[in-house]
Symmetry: D4
Subunit: 165 residues, 8 copies
Amino acid sequence: LTDPLVAIVAGSKSDEELVQEAASVLERFGVPYQKRVISAHRTPQAAFEFSANAAGRGIKVIIAIAGKAAHLAGVLASGTILPVIGVPAPTSDLGGLDSLLSTVQMPSGVPVATVAIGKAGAHNAALLAVSILSLGDDGLAKMLRDHKSRIADQVASADEEFSSG
Amino acid sequence: LTDPLVAIVAGSKSDEELVQEAASVLERFGVPYQKRVISAHRTPQAAFEFSANAAGRGIKVIIAIAGKAAHLAGVLASGTILPVIGVPAPTSDLGGLDSLLSTVQMPSGVPVATVAIGKAGAHNAALLAVSILSLGDDGLAKMLRDHKSRIADQVASADEEFSSG
Amino acid sequence: LTDPLVAIVAGSKSDEELVQEAASVLERFGVPYQKRVISAHRTPQAAFEFSANAAGRGIKVIIAIAGKAAHLAGVLASGTILPVIGVPAPTSDLGGLDSLLSTVQMPSGVPVATVAIGKAGAHNAALLAVSILSLGDDGLAKMLRDHKSRIADQVASADEEFSSG
Amino acid sequence: LTDPLVAIVAGSKSDEELVQEAASVLERFGVPYQKRVISAHRTPQAAFEFSANAAGRGIKVIIAIAGKAAHLAGVLASGTILPVIGVPAPTSDLGGLDSLLSTVQMPSGVPVATVAIGKAGAHNAALLAVSILSLGDDGLAKMLRDHKSRIADQVASADEEFSSG
Amino acid sequence: LTDPLVAIVAGSKSDEELVQEAASVLERFGVPYQKRVISAHRTPQAAFEFSANAAGRGIKVIIAIAGKAAHLAGVLASGTILPVIGVPAPTSDLGGLDSLLSTVQMPSGVPVATVAIGKAGAHNAALLAVSILSLGDDGLAKMLRDHKSRIADQVASADEEFSSG
Amino acid sequence: LTDPLVAIVAGSKSDEELVQEAASVLERFGVPYQKRVISAHRTPQAAFEFSANAAGRGIKVIIAIAGKAAHLAGVLASGTILPVIGVPAPTSDLGGLDSLLSTVQMPSGVPVATVAIGKAGAHNAALLAVSILSLGDDGLAKMLRDHKSRIADQVASADEEFSSG
Amino acid sequence: LTDPLVAIVAGSKSDEELVQEAASVLERFGVPYQKRVISAHRTPQAAFEFSANAAGRGIKVIIAIAGKAAHLAGVLASGTILPVIGVPAPTSDLGGLDSLLSTVQMPSGVPVATVAIGKAGAHNAALLAVSILSLGDDGLAKMLRDHKSRIADQVASADEEFSSG
Amino acid sequence: LTDPLVAIVAGSKSDEELVQEAASVLERFGVPYQKRVISAHRTPQAAFEFSANAAGRGIKVIIAIAGKAAHLAGVLASGTILPVIGVPAPTSDLGGLDSLLSTVQMPSGVPVATVAIGKAGAHNAALLAVSILSLGDDGLAKMLRDHKSRIADQVASADEEFSSG
């Protein structure tokens, strides 16, 4: 078994779909990861411990997924020097604007690398983690370059189909 | 010296004006308070300890003042069963909407009693603390009723002046 | 029969689901409550009388649930020194942003303790009421501490399930 | 002395500039008015009495000017069948969006005729009052038609100046 | 046949539900009305003529219902001295915030009496028209006072049912 | 004298700065233009006539600059088949969001080509007019390509200075 | 076969419905067009080449349809002097406000002619393209004038039906 | 001379203050960087080349600072597999909300690591870059841990001063 390099942490079980989106991207790149449910507000001590020990356990990048007054990414970032990527979960009332502002508007000193609201954000969080890891892993860098070509090819195919349609 | 019943906690020194607004209201009511600067992100352990020990030290109500991705009130609320009042600080770019949503949109299980953005909010946070304390203190309740009359009288005076102006 | 300590006041019958959410939390803690429908705009006198007499009838905390130009919490707060908790109801057009701003942006002198929009807010309003009551009731305080542990355990279980999933 | 037909009610003395803007328009049309300061939250009884007695005292239209969680227009409208015009005052943090939504988003049954945020709104509130009064006053109707021509002429002059500039 | 006193003008056929809501309120009060579809952008001349001739045809109040860049109320108001009430129609993308701002933020000189977004707004637009008409019609004023009592009674019934539920 | 090809229409004299910004761009390209002040609400007939006759007078593109409930561009577009470019003017309370939504959210059938809020928008409105005119004017097209190169060179210079700074 | 005069470029296949809306309008006017799928982010080189060569291939107007951080219209506009019309696609979380601001708030020097969010925008984008093309094509201008009459007639029919309904 | 590891790219010279903020943080950590001005819209080819060649020139992290329809970070991210950090610049009209949404709401496939609007964001962008670099540089990791302690100490000092003040 390989030790996880990326931790995907959700603020609640209801964020499972976003966790899976990020996880499936990491799997495609063969990046070992772990999945956690830790709440900044309901299990603050677990958050504290997770964050303090993540680097020591070999984690390189943390992906934090949370909604509403989404403090999870910020709370995890406060306890580690690892890069923390925040995914704002959509919310039924304010469309995720609350999650977005709570995640991105961090004060000087504690950065959170915020991506888009929802599924595209979860997908991109994983790609960003791969991008960061590939700075020290040429194989991963090659896979990422190939992935970029592949999604370009997909758009090109759609273009061809569309142009002649 | 009397032990403080209310703690006014600011996320950074730049929130000092709001702290003073709340403090001056508490002084008017003779409610002992303490002032702290604790950052949810820069001194998470201090936040953790403060929150865990507040009730034990005799604190009854916590007022948390913070801006932007304002996690302070939520983080303090996660560690205590005391009522926590959140004051969203104004922000230069988004007018405090970020602070407001980050403070008020708490998930089930960890309430934050949120008041208005800025100075009116800080003022009202202190009044709300007095209101809570007065449930167990008839003298304070009387002072609060008198205060309510006084501000009504001020409006009435303004009305008189205005009507004849 | 026990006299109610908390009043849950809805601005209209359509807020019933939110009322039930708050009520079920209070029941779990054995806190006696009453349910009312009072409209700040359609039955202003009832609001006025309710608010003026609430403290005298033994009410300690008022929870006001209303949507759109949600004046209910503010109107009730204007007539009492009791702590008033405002729950902004979701709205179909603006997602409850109108309810939130109408509830939280109170001017100096009349605080409303505002919680999140919708069901999480109604749930937390009840917990906040319990938190306030537990300042003078050690039994309740113990129950609240236990509740905090229980929801932490739930997250921990979800975490375990998730980590190994 | 003529009895006032229009009441301009401000929620606080700080709205004086907006009151003057509305007043000066009414003066131009010779419409008798009174100015009041009444707070929906700080002097709710005064609001209640004012509203209940306005029609009896000969008032035909009420202009209510207030900011933030601006409940004044709604509270006055709840106590009278007179048309109530709401002017949302600008606010330093949210630009008056809070005042606007709190004034305009009234529930079924209690309309508030809302105009623009700030000075243009106060100006137009007075013109709207004149428009309503002129339904039963041909002299006023003529003055209003003349006023409309005059402001058209002003734009035409500006146009001439501009075109040749 | 009675000549209409109120004109309900919709910007497009798709606003029919809102038109019916306003119409049914006017019917309840026995106020004769007419329904029109006129587009500020697609039939500007019709708008122009309607507006210029409305007062001459005995119309006292105009209700304009439109969505998105909702110019209808403003365009009608520019051509008449009659009071024009604007109802912002909900929009699928921005929830009617676009309709609201386009209707309410009128510049100095041309007021639009704006009510809430959607069905409650359409309902209240009709009530506001009745309120304006009742300034010169004691019978209507009595009906409006009775209506206010009736809706108060409805809330009181709901309250009774709720309190004992 | 050359007949104007572009009309820059402002809703009020207060938009003069934006008019000048657009005018100075047109001058740089030698495009003859005229400046007008026409209000959709205060001089609707002038708007109507201007719009109906613009094409006949040789105007090819109309630039409409207005703020708040900015109906000018839409009203002009309703009366002509010429392309109408809308510039949302900044507003002190809502930052021009009201102007933007009132200008851009036009219903099917009457397009307005909307550009950015404020000075950049006025500048770009003129460039867009030049772009449209250059479809039928090779000399203008060449000037526009040269202009594009020039602004690229300016950024390149800034880059050089910056890189070595 | 006629060479296309208008290019409709979508940022992804998921924007197909909006593409069809624009296409069907162009077909009604007999304007030859091509459909493309090009992503500003996934196939930047294709965007670059398309934009650089569009004018040379006879394209007169580009319609760019994209959502979220919608850079497509801006990126295409940066590489051509042709008029580029941007259609902000609706987004599930923020209702298309993100698409709108990303499309319209272009800096000085690179205009994008932005239309409404969604289907009405796509429809109007095509009409705007026709309007631009008709500056050099009298037949098209006549068709556009006829189209304007037809949609006026449709509103007039709806009005007739409504008035008598 | 050391080759730069981080590139700070501004969309225009007016973003210089934000560039300096990021630069001064990198200097404190001894991280070699370069400063560039490249416009996604005015010098798209420069953006394209910069992005394509950055990794080859030894750049590890790109910081992109831009405002309004801020496409710079997304455009750079489209051309490289390096992590790109986006700093939304404040804007006078919409407070930077336009910049934020244009930067963060990236579609699946092309992540941008977005930080807060303005100076705090620029500061944190640099810290995030250091955090990413420190994954492969133990010395830098130690410096970052020390920095975290130092800012904690500063808050602690402020706290001490405040508590006794």
